[in-house]
Structures are given as C-alpha cells and as structure tokens.
Amino acid sequence: MDKRGRLSKFGAGLTSAASSAIAILVGLAVGFIILLATNPGQAVRGLGVIVSGGFNGGMKGLGQVLYYATPLILTGLSVGFCFKTGLFNIGSSGQLIVGAFAGIWVGANAAPWIPAPLLWLAALLAATLAGAAWGAIPGLFKSLLNVHEVIACIMCNYIGMYGVNFLIKNSNVYDPLKNQTIDMTRAAIPKAGLDRIFFSLKGRFLDASSVNGGIFIALALAIATSVVLDRTVFGYELKACGLNRFASRYAGINEKRGIFLSLAIAGGLSGAAGGLMYLAPAGGLRINVIETLAAQGFNGIPVALLGLSNPIGIIFSALFVAYIEQGGYYLQRLEYMPEIINIIIAVIIYFSAFALLMRQAVGAARSRLARRSGKRARGREAGRA
C-alpha cells in the first residue's frame, strides 16, 4: 500500500472512531436524562457510576468485564462473520446452547480416554464442532433449498433449546434437584493465572473474579477470524458474496458453498462461546432446564453492529458492552434499575447508524477534495508544459 493509501485508511479509522465516540456520548446523554427524570438528586453520581463501569469494582470489577466480554466477543464474531457474507445469523442462541451441551457431555464422559489436563480442551472442541453442525443446518437449508436463513435460524433456536432440554434430562449430566446441569470442575476452562491478578480483598478473604483463560481463546479466535476475512482467498470470496451475490456468482465464486461454510463457521464461534461459558468450576454457570432461549446469543447482534462486523472492532465493542453493563450492576447501589444500561446501549447502536452515514459523508467530501486537488495538479503540469 502506498503512503497515500495508508494515510487515507488511517483517516477513515479516525473518522469511524470519532463517530463511535459521538454515538456513545449521545447514549450517555440519554442515560443522564433518564437518571434525572427518575431521581434528580442522585443523577450526577449515577452517571459517574455508569461511566466508571468495571472500575467500580476495582481489579475484581475489571476481571468481571473480561469475564462477561468473553462470550460476547464470540457471539459478536458469529453474527459479524455472517454479516460480512450478507447473511443474518439470528441463530446464535441455539448454536450456543447446543455447543454448551456437547461440551458439558464430553467434559463429563470423556475422562477415561482423555488425560485430565486436556479434558477441557476436548470439551471445548466438542462444543465448537456441535455449534458448527447446528449452524450448518440453516446453511444447508439456505444453500440447497432456498429457505430464508432468518427463519431457519429462528426455528433452529427453538429446536436446539427444546432438544438440549430433552438431552440433559435423559443423560448423566443432569442434576434433577436443581433442574440444571452438573458441576464441571474437572473440565473447567483453566484460570491461566488471571484469578491472581483480578481480585479484590474483603478483609482477609480473597474475592477473585470469575475471569478465566477463555478470554485469551476468544481474542485468538477474533484474530483468526480477522486473518481469514482479510488475508485469504476464502475470506475474499465470502466478502464478495456479501457485497454482491450475483457479481460473485458471475465471477465464478461458489456462492452456495460460501453460504454453507459461513453459517457453519458462525455456528462454531457461537458453540465455542457456549463451551467457554458453561465449562465452569464449582459455583460457575450451569445450563438451567428452562424454556427460554439463551439471551447471550441475541446479545451478539448489538456487539457485531457496534463493532461494524470487523473482528477487531468486535473485541472492543464486546469489552465496552461488558464494561458498561458492570456500571449498571453497581448502579443498583443508588437504587436505579440496571435496565437503563440496555437503553443506553440501544441508543448508542441507533446513533451508530447515523455515525456510519456521517463517515460516508466525510469520505465523499474527502474524495471530492482529492479529485479537485488532482485536477489542480494536472492543470499546473499542463501550464508548465
């Protein structure tokens, strides 16, 4: 890339960062207005708590930010990857729960064959593969039978949820007393030393954050996704399908294969999210046998949108969402409802749509300027000649 191209890419990045910042400011302003409307006396302190986010809880709070960001990064990637291919993966919820069950089942049953230190890895792989298989179903329906991926994904969410409930109740991972899955201590994701960094002291008692090595896995997968999308022929073909299906078909790209693989990869990412969430030690998350779709899957949509479907952007947007959600958690001390955070995030997403437009406008102005200066330079050259 020549110097000019690099500069303009840097400029575009700067504009998009600036427009995201504006969207965030508008979101916070709306949040402040709501705080004022509910209880004016505490509003300024409340805003401070929201902005401080994870810092409210010291090192433990920051650890919690990383902990909650881990599945958000992966579901965000899952949705964003499909956006790049022109598909809307609304089935992340089902892929996540199917993956989680497969991970738990392998974690509980594969012990005789797999050495204990690697059990979590086998379980996580199983979760990823099961999620990928679940994502491949709408992929097949879309590419072979022309079934709209949105409807196939919605149906697969419910089929997956009821199916997992059925399988849990009829397998050895069921704890009927608590109506949830059993303890996964033996196959838990390793802490990777993070619990010794992110903790706070309660007297002489060490109050460690739930963060674990999963955050590294999520980051690695984000980088891998970025490489696949930007540095491989396969990624190029997927993006081409997303930009113009007909043109890429005309150019000889196998669009059906792209659709299938894109949804399968997205499913794998969501399945990994499920594995990282539920392969947790004693006191961690368990799958509750209830008839509600897993919310984390749907939370991937705003994360992907805020991150503009860019894998690196998604890391930051997931961290941001987890950070501000922590602010909502601590906001309850001032007797505000934590739901205000979701309203703020919704406003930010809404205004990020405006921000995109602003960026396009800036881009158009810049290219107009470049054209004009180009013309002037040509004019000078003509004059000299």
């Binding site: 409807i151 919605i154 089929i159 199916g163 109740k169 008839e291 205000i340 749509a353 405006f354 995109l356």
Partner: protein, 326 residues
Amino acid sequence: MSESTGAWPIIVFLIQQMWYFSIPLLIVALGGMFSERSGVVNIALEGIMVIGAFTSLFLINRLQDTMSGQGLLCLALLAAAVSGTLFTLPHAYASINLRSDQTISGTALNMAAPAIAIYVARTFQENHVQQVMFRNTFRLASAPILGDIPFVGPLLFRNAYLTTYIGFAILIVSYIVLYKTRFGLRLRACGEHPQAADSVGVNVYRTRYAGVLISGALAGIGGLVFVIPTSTDFNATVSGYGFLALAVLIFGQWRPLRIFLAALFFGLMKTIASAYSGVPALKTLPIPSDIYKMAPYAATLAALALTSKRSQAPRASGEPYDQGSR
C-alpha cells in the same frame, strides 16, 4: 357427529386454543408484511410487541378498578396501536430518511423495548416489581346468538376474545388495501422497484413511512392480543413471538392469505404441543413433552424446505431508497 361425544369436544377445545396462538402471529406478520412490501425490513417486531403490550396492559392495570370488559379492551387496543406506531418512528426515520442499515435500528428497538418496559414498571409501580398484573375480564363465554350456531358457534364464538374477530377484520382489510386500492399498488411498487414508482410520481418516502408505521400499529396490537388470553401478568417479554411472526411472514411469502394459512398451521402445531396431554390419542403415545414442544418448529422448517424453492422476498426490501441515485 353429535356435539357432546367422541372427538368433537377435543377438536372444539383445540381450535379455541389455536386462535390464542394464531391470531397474534397473524396480526404481527401482517404488520411486517406492510413494512416489507414497502421495502423496509422490520426486525423490530418483537420490540414493538413488547412496547404495545406494556403500554396497553399498564393502562389496563391503572384503569381496571373503574372500567372492565370490552370497553376497556378497546381502549387498550387503541393504546397498543398508538404506542407501537410511535415506537416505530425512529426505525422509519433511520431507514427511510437516513438510509441506514435497517437491521441496526431494528436491533436497537428490540434491545430498548424490554429495558424500557422493566424500567418504567419498576419505577412507577407502587411495589417496584417489573410484572404488570391485570385482571382478565375480556373473555366472551359465548357470543350472543352467534355462539349458538351449530359447529361454527363453538369453534369461533365461545371462549373467545374480541381480539380474534379484530384479527380477522385486519386480515380482510389488509387484503383489500394491498390488492384493491391505489395505496396498496403504490406500496407494492415501492417494495419491488422504487425507482420506477418514483418515476411515475409516487412519493416513495411517504409510502414507505406509511408501510412502516402500519407495521408498528399492528405489531403493538399483536403484543396485547398475545398476552391477554395466555397470562394475567406481563413480564416485559412476548416470548419471541415477534421473531416467530417474522418467520410466519416469510413462510406466508409476504402475501396476506398465505400468511393466514401459515399462522393457522403454526398455531395449530403450537396448540397440539402445549395441550397434547388433554388429547387421549396423543397422551398415550410414548413421546416426551420436549419433543412435542419442538414439533411446531421442526414441522415449520420441514414445510419450508418443501415450499421455498421459488420463494422470493420483495425485491427492494432492505434496500434504502436514494432519490439522488435514481
């Protein structure tokens, strides 16, 4: 077949239950149809249902000591339609005037709706809980005269709600509006080829606004219609019915009568799944309840696999219209 023996009472029971599932899906999917046929994808149906249901049930909660029955229900329906329309305005503005990605504003509305419902409920209710309780005084045990018609009476006019008939009315009106009026023709043109519509003098922006706002009103109504027969409190959720309505809309191929059939199909499957233990023939089968509950979704997927080969969304749906790039 006499009315009191054999399978007849069970069929009557199933059909009466079916309306509770089918009618809200029908109303919301028809709403989505108006939006998508005008060229704007509306994935915010879920959020709009939540707001419509919340506003109207909060109103019922406040007024139920002074009013009851069908009068209150009509007032609540009005509130649901108005709140749904207002809540949809930002989506219309972003996707029509600003030409932004229609998934973004839809997702924002879906995210905001339950948060707003919970926040308002917990802030303004005396007990600070998020559930909005209401007394169901709206059921018609038997409609006068009509309930006594043989066969049709028990199926349609007993244990029913006014909302069922409103659903039918919306279906008929939607069909007429879409296919028999000038507005409907323009709406469809804007969803298929807005440039062509504009070139013959149709105001694409205004027509799309109409489509999106109609979808808001109908989704708002659908939220209320969904909650009333199935619950006595509202907990800031419509259990994914907005997304199911989206599925019914696609299953119904963006056409009113097919949407009706799709809603009936899904409603019937859903009824069987939730009421199978009341049907002797099904109860004795060795099928676990989770499999029954899964069946409506699996059956829909299978039906789609068989019918989607030639499926085609409105051509311009999801694409912002830019007059300058004509």
